[in-house]
């Protein structure tokens, strides 16, 4: 187990994702127990990125299903290729030999595999990312239960399609609505919080190579301090990285020495007009004074 955790840690590290031991442990459980993993946390803490890093780290195919209200089985699981089926019938008619049975029309040849079906048809375990599951309807969530517990999909015209390999399933949620207990019960759980100073600093160094140590420390200190304040939308890690890249490109050496530039580039961090206005009108300088 210890070796698996270290292996997961190293692979994520190699894929550019800085993970702590608790996260590496949960991921090793995912691999060992072959159970789906539900990750919750605020927007921008790296939930989706984790699945991508997992796929990169294990050299697996990443299959992504982005959930939204109204998502149905035709988009998520499979659909019959109706135009091709009609064409096949017409061709058979013109060739004067109609399809021998219904099985010829409802066969895998005319089946369009969508992400869930694709994931269980892979010969090597794929990483299946079911992103923002809280946006999907309750009915779809109920449908997922069969896929996530037995890794099989029932298609009435064909029968049950069993998994060739068990995919590594990662579900993410921003908690915009309550998920069902049945779904939660089938999953391992991890809550991803905003990173602490040291972890975020190491992420910045990893993702923005060449950034000066002092500037990186000031940027992370500024963002960490900002997250403690009253904001409509708190900046996530992606925002920190965008800001660090922008300031690095502008060849800024120290935030304290360039307060105007800080105010002008705040749009990388703050995403609502209300927040931007407040921080451009002086609050940003208070934060700068605090971290100086």
């Amino acid at each position: 187990m210890q070796r698996t955790i270290e292996d997961v840690h190293d692979r994520l590290n190699a894929a550019g994702y800085v993970a702590d031991t608790t996260l590496a442990t949960t991921l090793s459980l995912l691999l060992q127990l072959e159970r789906p993993l539900l990750i919750e946390g605020d927007a921008g803490v790296g939930k989706t990125e984790l699945a991508k890093a997992l796929a990169r780290g294990f050299d697996s195919r990443l299959i992504r299903l982005q959930c939204y209200e109204g998502l149905d089985t035709a988009t998520a699981v499979y659909e019959w290729n109706y135009p091709h089926q009609l064409l096949a019938i017409k061709l058979h008619e013109s060739a004067d030999h109609a399809p021998s049975s219904e099985d010829d029309i409802f066969s895998e040849r005319f089946l369009l595999a969508r992400p869930l079906l694709q994931a269980i048809q892979e010969t090597r375990p794929a990483v299946l990312l079911i992103d923002e599951i809280d946006r999907a309807d309750e009915a779809f969530e109920a449908y997922l239960l069969e896929v996530l517990s037995d890794f099989q999909i029932s298609i009435p015209e064909i029968g049950t399609v069993k998994a060739r390999s068990i995919p590594r399933v990662v579900l993410t949620s921003n908690s915009t609505r309550e998920l069902s207990d049945a779904l939660r019960r089938r999953c391992l759980y991890h809550y991803l919080d905003y990173p602490d100073m040291e972890k975020e600093l190491s992420i910045v160094h990893r993702r923005v190579p060449g950034i000066e140590g002092n500037l990186a420390r000031q940027i992370v200190g500024f963002v960490q301090s900002l997250r403690q304040r009253e904001l409509r939308k708190r900046p996530g890690i992606a925002e920190t990285l965008d800001w660090a890249s922008a300031l690095s490109t502008l060849e800024v050496r120290s935030l304290v020495e360039a307060p105007e530039l800080v105010e002008n580039t705040l749009a990388c961090l703050l995403k609502t007009e209300e927040d931007l206005k407040a921080y451009r009108e002086g609050a940003a300088r208070e934060v700068l004074a605090a971290i100086a």
């Binding site: 459980l29 919750e40 908690s175 309550e178 207990d181």
Partner: protein, 375 residues
């Protein structure tokens, strides 16, 4: 930890988690034993991480887990910390040991209702009057449940569909109805499409002194509603009216508590409901209140303003918006204070569209059901 049979201890810990309200069953026990069999049991940090990922179901479980783990496996170290903390605040010792006790001013039936544990605890909490929960753990748990209850509305509200001319799902009833014109032939199909837009909700929460006992529960419920109805606005009032939409949109509970401490001037004053409603209509109604909007007033109805003023303001408000719902915590009480309040409540019922009790989760459940039906 290594003293007795480790497998038995792990099974016992999973059972303990179940008693603490975690949704864990035989599968979790089996998986925990399987994982434990593959690793060094003496590494408690590793075991804690493994069991945490296996047994937690949501954020509140996640944050509680470590403390429960420490208390189960290393009770002595927890006791030492508890003693140190109890010297600072005597309530902490009681809180850590769990159980809902110390119900000041409650009748015996109320006390019996609130006391409980294990599997029936959630049901018991649903019926408990929030006023009598002096235990911090119980209060937090109830607040958490109130937040979840509000989130459940979204599931119900978005499940309802509207009839449309195009879409993916055929509306059989609508299609049959249209077919009457063509002698029963379904020439014109009708479809069902999801309802995508939720109406705006305006929350007006009374935070005066008389509501102090219910404010934590109602605040949590209000915050849940703010997340369900993204275009909502929230206001609190006593003798003044304050807009708190941004404050209530805070998703992190700990952060919210920190910010609430900075906003102490908003809480605990006298009550001027009519004046507060007048100020709302004067300052904010043109922006936020229209015929698609639902107004939710959370108040016990005790007002130092003239009752005729309140009636007038409510009538004006009702003309402006789609519906006005009044959540009154006094409705669920059977004591002298409520008899006085009874007349007020009866008067209110004629002026608003729906009056619901707001003293317990069960009361809030009726509000949730009403909102899901009318949104």
């Amino acid at each position: 930890m290594a003293g007795t049979n480790p497998s038995r201890q792990i099974a016992s810990f999973v059972r303990h988690l179940r008693h603490e309200g975690f949704d864990v069953g035989i599968r979790e026990t089996a998986d925990a034993l399987r994982v434990a069999g593959n690793q060094n049991l003496l590494d408690n940090r590793l075991l804690c991480s493994c069991l945490r990922g296996l047994c937690c179901r949501d954020r509140s479980d996640w944050h509680r887990f470590e403390e429960i783990f420490q208390a189960f496996w290393f009770p002595q170290s927890v006791a030492v910390r508890e003693d140190a903390a109890a010297r600072i605040d005597p309530r902490i010792g009681q809180l850590r040991r769990g159980g809902v006790t110390g119900i000041a001013g409650a009748s015996q039936s109320d006390e019996e209702l609130v006391r409980g544990g294990g599997a029936g605890r959630q049901r018991t909490l649903a019926r408990a009057d929030f006023r009598f929960l002096t235990d911090l753990l119980g209060q937090r748990e109830m607040e958490e449940l109130a937040g979840r209850l509000a989130l459940r509305i979204r599931r119900r509200a978005t499940r309802r569909r509207r009839e449309r001319y195009c879409g993916r799902v055929v509306h059989m009833r609508g299609t049959f109805r249209r077919s009457l014109a063509t002698g029963g032939l379904p020439l014109h199909l009708r479809y069902l499409a999801p309802r995508l837009e939720l109406p705006r909700l305006v929350l007006l929460q009374d935070v005066s002194h008389s509501m102090a006992g219910y404010s934590p529960l109602l605040t949590r419920f209000a915050r849940g509603l703010m997340r369900v109805f993204p275009r909502s606005e929230a206001f609190v009032f006593h003798t003044q009216l304050y807009r708190v939409s941004n404050l209530y949109r805070e998703t992190d509970v700990l952060e919210l508590r920190r910010r609430l401490e900075q906003y102490q001037h908003l809480w605990l004053g006298g009550t001027q409901i009519a004046e507060s409603l007048r100020r709302f209509q004067e300052l904010y109604a043109s922006r936020f209140a229209n015929r698609q909007c639902l107004v939710l007033i959370m108040s016990d109805g005790f007002d130092t303003d003239d009752p005729h003023d309140l009636a007038k303001q409510l009538t004006l408000l009702r003309e402006r918006v789609r519906q006005v719902v009044w959540i009154n915590p006094m409705l669920g009480r059977r004591d002298a204070a409520n008899e006085v309040n009874g007349d007020v409540t009866r008067g209110l019922a004629a002026l608003v569209d729906f009056v619901a009790p707001g003293h317990s989760l069960e009361g809030l459940e009726t509000v949730a059901a009403y909102l899901a039906q009318h949104c």
